[in-house]
Symmetry: D2
Subunit: 90 residues, 4 copies
């Protein structure tokens, strides 16, 4: 795993953990249900973003390492895949 991907993922995971703890506290405090669900959905969006960062790193360092293609073209191909992944399920 690329060091940048690792660092950025861990930074975002720490934030997501804080937000998930907040969801728990909102349930403990019996806050308004739709507000709790919104907070939970925000955590899910954060995790999906982390997935994409990890996938992009994976495609780059593990999948496409050996392609004999110009750098710009490889980057375009990777971006396209990640973009599709991003939009899936929306």
């Amino acid at each position: 795993m690329n060091i940048e991907v690792k660092k950025e993922s861990l930074r975002r995971l720490a934030i997501a953990q804080g937000h998930l703890q907040k969801v728990r506290e909102m349930v403990e405090d019996e806050e308004y249900c739709p507000d709790i669900i919104h907070q939970s959905q925000a955590v899910q969006s954060s995790l999906k973003k982390i997935d994409q960062i990890i996938l992009e790193g994976h495609l780059d360092c593990c999948v496409l390492a050996n392609i004999n293609a110009p750098k710009a073209k490889k980057e375009k191909l990777i971006k396209e895949i990640v973009d599709l992944f991003d939009k899936n399920g929306k």
Copy 2:
């Protein structure tokens, strides 16, 4: 918030927090990227399930409390909404 909904949500949230901590450890240990993403997606599924439990409770106690309809019909209507919510985005 219904006491059963609260209890079940907190129980599932505690498990989700454990699984999210596991994702973090997998990144720290630089485990295989697709395995990490699978673990993260499992956390997201758990949170989505919790959202549905909370939504169902909300529709029951807050939204539909005053409907002058037989219990069976109200339950059916709620189930239908939650079922749709469940399938959305899949």
Copy 3:
């Protein structure tokens, strides 16, 4: 089904059918794969929007018809449910 919901749904369904036909033509013409998938995802987004319009109408006319609550509060409750539905899976 409310006449406005019916009319708006049919209008949007006709457009979605046109866009799905376009997806088919793109495959026939062997256009660039990511472009085809983007077009397909646009059709899926259109259908999801139609689902929300129909769900909102359903909650309004069938589920909440008998609630003895002020109009503004009912509208707020419906909007919240639809908003949650909208965000699910993104």
Copy 4:
């Protein structure tokens, strides 16, 4: 585009078009709203499956064509990506 991918995509697209026409007829006939939404969600699932077939073909023929790796490993990498894509948003 691979001939098998093209053929299978067109076959599935024709079916999806038939099911979308059915959604339209259900709205015209004012059938029960949750039934209509279920039918619409089935169309969306079909389109998502078609997207995956096209993406898999794309990764195979366009992205990974030049990798100097054993066939089995390349297939495994592709399957993993498509599997992640499949689970995204569920």
